[in-house]
Symmetry: D2
Subunit: 344 residues, 4 copies
């Protein structure tokens, strides 16, 4: 069976490290290049517990990525880098899975406000396919540029999309409170993310202006046909990996716990990476180091509200695992290929 | 200056330990008795870094508390215990500050649904004064039975009450997502709260049925004149102490960030234990081991929503510190007496 | 290729959970039975992110383990349970890998002092082979009863054995300070191991009387020909998984950093699970969720001392992973089979 | 009663923050100046939960510290900064307590090897008095330049000095394994101390070359008359505050547990900040946020060894608290003044 050569650009960040693990054991991929300025010239086997030929690979400078000889490239780079590099690789005939936000928003005019830059790559943006297979698998088949969803966006959209589509909850007035482990902030030297500052602390950040907000709304709207502006509050909590998103919704007349649950059941029956549980059984520790999303629902009839809880690993289903899943989907492979990690 | 003798019942739990620290150095209190079955016969100085006469105090069995000789009693006992013990001590002429939920809900008929017991102490319930000085200081003067607020209730009501009263946000459709450190679950042998189960995990619990919900609604209603049923979702996060409550509100016409902020400013000007900050500057680590509440507000005009963030230490402003503050208030003392702890 | 049926007894403890993960994907094993009273009747797939037939397995009561129909049994049970169950299974023709201390000490007379029970299973004890392949691989071939090493014993003996054998350090006066994550204490309801008690704390325990001490001395003695009594101090630290053992040794005349390093190089050249690093590059986080041991050496000529640092995952190389490795060895399979976990 | 004006230089580091808390409530001190480039122009009350006049103090640039108008200065600055600034302040008549290593080693010739700089301040070095009151209180009386001990040095020397002096253990061959919380590394932007790198990890660092080693040996030698070179291994563990030092000693003929314990009892009877416990009762969490040292001893007759365990808070007894205690001592005040913090 033909193996496809793959390069990972930005291989020393937390997502890049996970991509390396998965690529190194994916049965249809052959990892050939790793790009990282931080570890340039070092061997991958000195940084990760790899076996086989992947262990001997040496990291190359990021600047060399544009001329990579692989057939496929995972970009775990900042949006500004992906925005330039992605189209270059596409032009050279590579298939690209980009983990940044560079190609996530269909409407380029949203970029200045939410990302702080003007988007000048209209053609690539038009070609990009959003990589959340559970919600839009069909659009991914054959995609040459996969735009991998954000971590908060994955957790939140999986919870919201079927509920909003059901018409049992209001598409307006949704309030999401989400908590993320510190790896979500990326790998960097920063006093703010030092152990002493983060440990034993909780805080909200980027209230009402996190860049995943328009992405969530766009995804829900594409799936459900509508979605009001969402009030979204992300929090930093002292864990390494994992996201828990708690979504408060207003019940519409006729809604019941059973009916809401049915909307999820219908949407996710047979999905290998989605598991529906009681809301208080959804826990980050059960999804960490897996590509799974655990979802739970609690209906509060007294308050006329429902709360949907969603847990993923921000580095797996929220980044590297989902990138592999979406690539599997784009290539027409079994979607679970290379993703049989057992958590823990 | 006369010192008042005080007893602490339930002195080995996490709130009881904090009460002991504060009582031992309060300038108007003389700690005379500590009740705890867990540490019966042990000296307090072997369990806490106390100096002075408090160090020599020995814990007595809980069963002896009913005949305590102190003038004042702090009850850090389960609601079922306080429900019986509180009235007995009142009858003997003691002043009582109860940290449980036994006397928090004015409407006794709410107890079966939210607390799982029928409330048979109507007289004590009628006499109880809710101990949240910032919101209802006047009712506390001279109180013989202070019912100390719940930790989530303190954090949430402080954030909500002035905003709802302002008429700038809807009193209906409020959704609160709150996170608590593990000490909120009390001290006990439990697999669920073992280090290996809690560390690196996040989860929601008691969705839509936490017993602090009716307490929050009652407090806001008393202060603001109205309050719809609140959707409240508590979460367990891997820190020892601290609560962060994130409250999503719907803006009413005419609301602006400045107007909402004014509502808080008006309510809390001059309050020694409340500090108003930008919402992303509110952090648990800045309030831990202090009696402070830090509050911050973010207005999301796009979504027609406001988010109020509130941080307290669940064991201090959410329990022992507030108990001291409320006692100070009931006794007519300076409210900050004995509460000059400097955090860290 | 024939698959061997395997049962896991004590499957809901932390080691049992890891064994389940590995057994479920080992290419030569077919997991057929899981025994655990805690989760009796539940499906394994509801407790672990398993796929395939393993997910449908239901936990059976521990009492049923004696009549298990598998060919091989992993015992992740307390020593007292293994002591009785192991010989029964052997008598029925099963191959047994026991993860407790029941069969680790060759000299049965040591059990009362170190384990608190009298050892009445002389035949099984005589048949047991200690499962530390790097130090005594040959004795393991064909073993019917593998006694899996203790976690501290693995980390410590791997560091010490080649150094003592080299004759470059004194076999007397060795002082070991070791730190373990909390999973080493097992899964249980206990106030002492609750999050609030363990988080942000450090402490030593079982000083001079940990049951792994005679095991370490026995292993080093078998490998090196001699070993004085070791001063061993274990510590509890707030991490979930992992052990770091820091071993202080006295240099003998003629010792040098290079000579000591050679002793390790000679012993571990080509070992797939041992990695030799600079002492300050040995970190628990690099071995967690792998079957690796990382070892590093620092020579302090000024003090006439050497310090050997050893890191493993207590649940993997210190328990379940090593059990699989030792079984592979006993069966004559490639020793790395089923152990290609990539850490993180 | 006259209050002495005091300045804190380096007030935004972790030790500087603690010094600020203590100085702000010390009954004989009046905090008048805070120097920190990080927070220049900010008010102290915006960074710390201070009340009273201290809250209004504004941080000044570090460069202004040389002309401070206070009577006393605490220097929480790097050794290179203290080395220059200390003598200038002394020359201007201030009393100085320096928390760095600049004036800790009597023998200036040790500085190049252990600190990496040549010590050019012989006069100040000669005047400096080492501030460990429990071991050398008398030398501190009236000191104009107090050199505050290092955190590891405090924990270790308190454990070792009386035992070595007793003649019951060898003064040679001592091996210390010590663990520190991350605040020991100071406040800084660094990938190595980021939450994701430190959390769930353990590692040793600066093996055989930590700069506190000659300081420990010097202190023990001054107190006990002798001390061989110590093998010292520090470790980084994922807690914010606290040190646990585990010291392995060789028993000499005639030593017994009771005799060793007597040596400690004799040395520390009546000490307000030292508490002697069973070795497995010594825990960091009991000393954090107090100025206490908890010491415990385990004798291992089988191994001919003793292990002394010592716990302190690196920022309190290991830094700011001890600085206050030593200043109290130098000034002839009650040594416990301003140090009645109650932990937690």
């Amino acid at each position: 069976m033909h193996e496809h050569s793959i390069a990972i650009v930005g291989a020393s960040g937390y997502s890049g490290l996970e991509l390396t693990r998965y690529a190194a054991r994916h049965p249809r991929l052959r990892l050939v290049s790793l790009y990282s300025d931080r570890w340039a010239q070092e061997a991958a086997g000195d940084r990760l517990p790899l076996g086989g030929p992947a262990a001997a690979l040496r990291y190359s400078a990021l600047a060399d990525a544009a001329s990579t000889q692989a057939e496929i490239a995972f970009l775990a780079t900042p949006a500004e880098v992906s925005l330039e590099l992605g189209p270059k690789l596409l032009a050279r005939g590579l298939r690209v899975v980009d983990l940044s936000g560079a190609f996530r928003l269909e409407d380029a005019s949203l970029y200045p406000a939410w990302y702080g830059f003007t988007h000048g790559q209209a053609a690539a943006l038009a070609e990009a396919r959003y990589g959340l297979p559970e919600l839009e698998r069909e659009r991914l088949r054959g995609a040459r540029l996969v735009s991998n969803p954000g971590c908060y966006a994955t957790a939140t959209a999986l919870a919201l999309a079927p509920l909003v589509k059901s018409g049992l909850v209001a598409a307006e007035g949704i309030a999401v409170s989400a908590m993320s482990g510190v790896s979500g902030a990326g790998r960097k030297a920063s006093e703010d993310y030092s152990f002493c500052e983060v440990d034993e602390d909780l805080r909200a950040y980027r209230l009402a202006r996190h860049q995943h907000v328009p992405e969530i709304e766009q995804t829900v709207r594409r799936f459900a046909g509508r979605c009001g502006p969402i009030s979204f509050t992300p929090h930093l909590v002292p864990i390494r990996r994992g996201i828990l998103a708690t979504c408060a919704l207003r019940l519409l007349p006729g809604a019941s716990a059973a009916a809401l649950q049915s909307a999820w059941n219908g949407a996710y029956a047979g999905e290998p990476f989605v598991r529906l549980l009681a809301a208080d059984k959804v826990a980050v520790k059960d999804v960490v180091r897996t590509n799974r999303a655990h979802l739970g629902l609690a209906v509060d009839e007294r308050a006329g509200a429902a709360v949907a809880v969603s847990a993923i690993d921000n580095l797996t289903k929220g980044a590297a695992g989902q990138a592999v899943q979406a690539l599997n989907c784009a290539m027409g492979w079994d979607e679970t290929l290379g993703l049989d990690l057992l958590g823990g």
